[in-house]
Structure formats: structure tokens, C-alpha cells
């Protein structure tokens, strides 16, 4: 797989470079970096830092999508784990806070996985339940307030730096390496792809498809919980209404931009994270250019459509469309 990467990822890398160049043209100091108080600052670092939640979500989402599933609940899971982390932060130590928040993500993932793999529900439907109820649960935890905290340990998670690199970026990188090592270092990745490619054939071939599906939803939940903790740590508070709102869509978009097909069967972790970076680079570019941030949604819509059309099995060049139009007319 790794050997194939450069060729498969060429379009994404090219797109990222183009967007970076546009950003550079919009804001000449875009690539400037400076070291202050032991942490790097600059627009590029900002892109990485702000892209972290979506990058983490896309790490889990890409595996789910590879099994032909989808997880709509990640935004709600972020809200839940953020709410738990913020409520516990000032009374408990960091390990307890992290264990509780990530544990909640694990439970949410188990629930989704149980519905999809054991009960056999459609993934969109199964995860819709938690998407609707999850934000309610998060508000239950925060009792409808925005819970703030001052615990320096948790704040460090969102705003600190390791060797000049912001902690969230380091965590995302660590998770990417960990996930990559586990799924690509073993046959696990291949088995996940097999499950997505043809669940029945894989089952007959001896792949434990149920366990695979359960596992990817659990992992997705844990990644979402981590993203939620980081998002809460970043703003030193948890807002159950707005934490992670619409991020599930960004995460799906990142995965799709990364070339992973929604029909399952193959995935690339690295390209999904690259997709998340492309989205964030666009967002930052729009902000820097002085256009109202409302343009974000329009640009995103155009990008989704463009990527979709490129991925469309029916569209293999203009000839495809022409033949089709002729076909329908005839």
C-alpha cells in the first residue's frame, strides 16, 4: 500500500499545494514561522492546529467508511467527551479525565458498532440515533450550561507545546502513526478492506466481519472522543450545543477528498488526514483573504461536487457524459 501512495495521492498533494499557493498569494506571510515561549507560531501551524479535530475524526471515519459504513455521530460524541472532560477537569487528575472521556467515546463506539454489526442496521440509521440523542446527553452532563475549567493539565492538551510543536498536532500525528502501524503493519487493514469490499464473501473466507465492523466503530468513537477533549481543552470549556457541530460532515468530506470511496473496500489513512488539511487550508485561506467566513460553505459545496464527479464510476472523462446524454436522448 505504502508503495502505491505517491501515485494515488498525487491529486490530493497537488490540490494542497495549489491551495497553499493561493493562500500565499492572499497573505504573503503565510509560510512565516516564529518560535515564541517554546512554541511555534504561524499560519501553517495554525492550519495544523485547527485541523486537528477533523484530522482525528477522519482517522476513525476512514476505517468506518472502508467497511462500507458511515458514522454520523462523531460530532455528538465530541460534545459528550468534551462535556465529561470539562466537568471532571477541576476535581480529578488528567489520567482520570482522559480515561473517562475516552471511555465514553469507547462506549458510544460500542453502541454504534453493536447496532450495525450485531443488529444489522444500516450504518446511516444506526449512527443517526446517537447523532440525535448524543447532543442531548452532552447537555445533560453539562446541565445545559457552558462548563469552563482551569485545570492547567487539560489546558496544556489544547494549548501547550512539545518541542515547539503544539500538543494537539503532536497527538494527531501520534494517532496517525499508531493507527497506521496497527492497520497497515498487520493484515488488519486488508481484512477491513475485505469486509467493505464484500462482507459476505469475506465472511465465507473466514474473516470475522462482525468483529471488524464492531472494532472500526469503537475506534471511530475513541478518535472522536479524543478530538472532543482537545476541542474542549482548546477553548477551556465545553459547549454541548456547538462542540463538534457539523464536524461529522467535515470528517466525511475529508475522507472523500482523500480518495476513499464511500462504497468501501479501500482506504488511505494518510490521504484522509491530507483531506482534513486541505479543508482547513481552504478555511484559513478564506479567513485570511478577508472574505466573510460564510464563503466557506459554498467553497466546500463546490469541492464536494468536484471530488464526487471525479470519483463517479460513471464518469471516465468527458466521453462518458456525452455518450450518456446521447444514450438518454435516443
Amino acid at each position: 500500500m505504502t508503495a502505491l501512495l505517491p501515485r494515488r495521492g498525487l491529486a490530493q498533494i497537488f490540490a494542497l499545494i495549489v491551495i497553499l499557493m493561493v493562500d500565499r498569494a492572499v497573505s504573503p506571510q503565510f509560510f512565516d514561522l516564529r518560535l515564541q515561549d517554546g512554541r511555534l507560531f504561524g499560519s501553517m501551524i495554525d492550519v495544523l492546529n485547527r485541523g486537528t479535530p477533523v484530522a482525528l475524526l477522519s482517522l476513525g471515519m476512514v476505517l468506518v467508511i472502508a467497511t462500507r459504513g458511515i458514522d454520523l455521530s462523531v460530532g455528538a460524541v465530541m460534545a459528550i467527551s468534551g462535556a465529561i472532560a470539562a466537568s471532571l477537569a477541576d476535581s480529578h487528575g488528567l489520567p482520570v479525565v482522559l480515561a473517562a472521556a475516552l471511555g465514553a467515546g469507547l462506549v458510544c463506539g460500542l453502541w454504534n458498532g453493536f447496532l450495525v454489526s450485531i443488529l444489522g442496521m444500516q450504518p446511516i440509521v444506526a449512527t443517526l440515533i446517537l447523532m440525535v440523542a448524543g447532543r442531548g446527553i452532552a447537555q445533560l452532563i453539562t446541565e445545559g450550561r457552558i462548563v469552563t475549567f482551569t485545570s492547567p493539565d487539560l489546558v496544556w492538551l489544547g494549548n501547550g507545546a512539545i518541542l515547539g510543536v503544539p500538543v494537539p498536532v503532536a497527538i494527531a500525528l501520534g494517532m496517525l502513526i499508531l493507527t497506521g502501524a496497527v492497520v497497515r503493519g498487520s493484515a488488519l487493514g486488508l481484512l477491513i478492506e475485505a469486509t467493505g469490499g464484500n462482507a459476505r464473501a469475506s465472511e465465507l473466507a473466514g474473516v470475522g466481519t462482525r468483529a471488524m465492523i464492531l472494532a472500526v466503530y469503537v475506534w471511530c468513537g475513541v478518535c472522536a472522543a479524543l478530538a472532543g477533549v482537545i476541542a474542549a481543552a482548546d477553548i477551556m470549556g465545553a459547549d454541548a450545543n456547538n462542540a463538534g457541530l457539523w464536524l461529522e460532515l467535515d470528517a466525511i468530506l475529508a475522507v472523500v477528498i482523500g480518495g476513499t470511496s464511500l462504497f468501501g473496500g479501500r482506504f488511505s489513512l494518510l490521504l484522509a488526514v491530507l483531506g482534513a488539511l486541505i479543508i482547513q487550508t481552504m478555511n484559513t485561506g478564506i479567513l485570511l483573504s478577508g472574505y466573510p467566513p460564510e464563503f466557506n460553505l459554498l467553497v466546500k459545496a463546490v469541492v464536494v461536487l468536484a471530488v464526487l464527479l471525479l470519483q463517479s464510476p460513471k464518469l471516465t472523462g468527458m466521453a462518458g457524459i456525452v455518450a450518456r446524454i446521447r444514450g438518454t436522448k435516443a
Binding site: 458511515i70 443488529l119 444489522g120 442496521m121 444500516q122 446511516i124 440509521v125 444506526a126 443517526l128 440515533i129 446517537l130 447523532m131 440525535v132 440523542a133 448524543g134 447532543r135 442531548g136 446527553i137 447537555q139 445533560l140 446541565e143 445545559g144 454541548a240 460532515l249 466525511i252 468530506l253 472523500v256 464511500l262 462504497f263 466573510p292 460564510e294 464563503f295 466557506n296 460553505l297 459554498l298 467553497v299 466546500k300 459545496a301 463546490v302 464536494v304 461536487l305 464526487l308 464527479l309 463517479s312 464510476p313 460513471k314 464518469l315 457524459i321 450518456r324 438518454t328
Partner: protein, 326 residues
């Protein structure tokens, strides 16, 4: 007969819920509360009718909330800033939203893309477009608005059946008739049952797909107009997340998310159940609004689990004669 048992269950849940609520708060069982429930959920009922068609045909439409938001902003600006007569503005926005839905349907069909992601792009597009029009709330002062919001049929017991509630009821009944009695409706079921089979049986799959999404967006446009009657303003952030409430109402109403089964009547009952939960929470006063979400989630789970069980039961007789089941 299609989808009757789930509809019955939804109806029983609604009646049981209503009775329980009425036992605790006798005032709930008044025409006033029931009419308010209809008025408050009028726009939801209208979108949910369109969503029922889409879901029965095996698709999904995530763009409806954004289309409602766009409609309210467009109507407000057209009337207040561009000086359009309200009826012309309504016609323009309905044509626009129908074209929008047709375009999504065309993309879904021509490029064979999952409806989920195409309508997701549509959701971004419509929301982004409404932000571009205006990010502020634009109040509407046209006389037709006060006329419509003052209009109501008085019912015994102090209930006021408002114009928006009547529009909703008309659309729900029209939708139910369209789905059950026309060739179009039969084709919608056929598409949801199996695309390939439907196309082999002579259903023009492409045309149907385009029309179904057109209908959904058109109804979302009407819902947007109703929403602007209800709030008296256009705001680009209005109706955020309505697509979820809508899908929840459709599922609670017994429509299979895999397509092929369902009914508009069930969807209407689903909307009423959601409205009832809201009303109960308002009456109680100590429960907070987030319980609505949790209760909706629990109901969603219950109904989907029920559907799962029913599908399993429906399959069993076909397998048993083969003796393959353990």
C-alpha cells in the same frame, strides 16, 4: 396494506403518549393545545411529507433544512428589499427550490452517486447561498403576513386552527393521496424496492429520481414560506438541523430507511409524536429542552429495532422450508 402494521404501532404510541400526558396534565387534551401543536410543527410536517417520498424511494435528502433557511432569507429580501410582491416572491422561490431539487436528482442519477453525499453538498450550497444573501435576521412587514398569521378557524374549546396548520394538513393529505393512489406513488415504492427491477419493469428511473428530489425540495420551499409566516422573519440560520428531525419523524412513522415501505400518514403521526414530546416538556416545566433530543433518540432506536425485528420475521418463512436455519 403496505406499511400498515408499523403505522398502527406509531398510532398506538401516539395515542398512549397523549393519554399519559393528558392524565398528568388534563389541559393537554384541549383543542387549543392540539392546534398549537399543529401550528408549531406545520413546517416540519410539510418537509417530512417530501422526505417520506425520498426515503421510500431508497434515497435521503439532507438539504431540506438549508433549503428552508434559504427560502426564508430569499422571501424576506425579495419582499422587503427588492420590492417584489409577496406572491411573485413565493412563485420565484418555489421555482428555484424545485430546480435545485431537480438538479440534485439529476446528479444522483446521471453520475450514479450516493444521495447522501450529493444532498450533503446541496445542504452546504443552500446554507452558504443564504449566508451570502444576508447573515442578519430580516423582519417581514408585508401586509399579507399579518393577514395570514391572524387568520384562523376557531374551533370549540378555544382552539385556533391557523393558516399554516391548514396548509400543512392539505399537503399531508395531498401527499398521502399522491403516494397511495397515483402511478407516481406506485413508482416511488417500486424504486425503493429495487432499482433494477423497477427499471426492468419499465419505470423511467432517471425521471423518477429527478421528480422525487424535486418534490422534496419544492415541499422544503413551501415549508420555508410557512416557516417565514410562523416567525415573521427571514434568517439564514433558521431550520438548522431540521433534516434530522424530519428523518426521525419519517422513521418513527414506520417508513423503512432502506426504502420500499412507508406512508405519509405514518410520517404525520411521527411529526405529532415529536410535537407531543415537546409539548409535554413545555407543560412539565422542570424538564429541560435537551430531553426532547434524548426522547427522540430513544424512540428512533425503538422504531428502527422494531423494523429490524419485522424484517427478520418476514424473512424467516422463506428460509425455513429450505431447512437451512439452525
Amino acid at each position: 396494506m403496505k406499511g400498515l402494521p408499523p403505522v398502527l404501532i406509531t398510532a398506538i404510541v401516539l395515542v398512549a403518549g397523549f393519554v399519559l400526558c393528558a392524565l398528568q396534565f388534563p389541559n393537554i387534551a384541549s383543542t387549543r393545545v392540539v392546534c398549537n401543536l399543529l401550528t408549531d410543527n406545520a413546517f416540519l410536517g410539510i418537509v417530512a411529507t417530501g422526505m417520506t417520498f425520498v426515503i421510500i424511494s431508497g434515497g435521503i435528502d439532507l438539504s431540506v433544512g438549508s433549503v428552508i433557511g434559504f427560502t426564508t432569507v430569499f422571501v424576506a429580501l425579495a419582499i422587503e428589499r427588492w420590492g417584489m410582491p409577496p406572491l411573485v416572491a413565493f412563485a420565484a422561490i418555489l421555482a428555484l427550490s424545485a430546480a435545485f431539487g431537480a438538479a440534485m436528482g439529476a446528479v444522483i442519477h446521471l453520475f450514479d452517486l450516493p444521495p447522501f453525499i450529493v444532498t450533503l453538498a446541496g445542504m452546504f450550497l443552500a446554507r452558504g447561498a443564504s449566508f451570502l444573501l444576508s447573515t442578519e435576521s430580516v423582519p417581514i412587514t408585508a401586509p399579507i403576513y399579518s393577514t395570514v398569521s391572524d387568520f384562523a378557524l376557531r374551533l370549540p374549546g378555544g382552539g385556533r386552527l391557523t393558516a399554516v396548520a391548514i396548509i400543512m394538513l392539505v399537503i399531508v393529505i395531498g401527499g398521502a393521496l399522491l403516494l397511495q393512489l397515483t402511478r407516481f406513488g406506485a413508482n416511488v415504492y417500486a424504486l425503493g424496492g429495487s432499482r433494477v427491477t423497477a427499471s426492468l419493469m419499465g419505470v423511467a428511473v432517471g425521471k423518477m429520481t429527478i421528480r422525487i428530489y424535486m418534490l422534496s425540495s419544492l415541499l422544503a420551499g413551501i415549508a420555508g414560506i410557512v416557516f417565514s409566516f410562523y416567525t415573521g422573519a427571514g434568517y439564514s440560520l433558521s431550520a438548522v438541523g431540521v433534516e434530522l428531525d424530519t428523518i426521525a419523524a419519517v422513521v418513527i412513522g414506520g417508513t423503512l430507511l432502506t426504502g420500499g415501505q412507508g406512508s405519509v400518514v405514518g410520517t404525520f403521526l411521527g411529526v405529532l409524536i415529536q410535537g407531543l414530546i415537546q409539548t409535554y416538556i413545555n407543560f412539565d416545566g422542570t424538564l429541560s429542552s435537551w430531553w426532547t433530543k434524548i426522547a427522540t433518540g430513544v424512540l428512533l432506536f425503538a422504531f428502527i429495532a422494531l423494523q429490524q425485528v419485522m424484517i427478520a420475521l418476514a424473512r424467516r418463512p422463506a428460509v425455513r422450508p429450505a431447512g437451512a436455519t439452525s
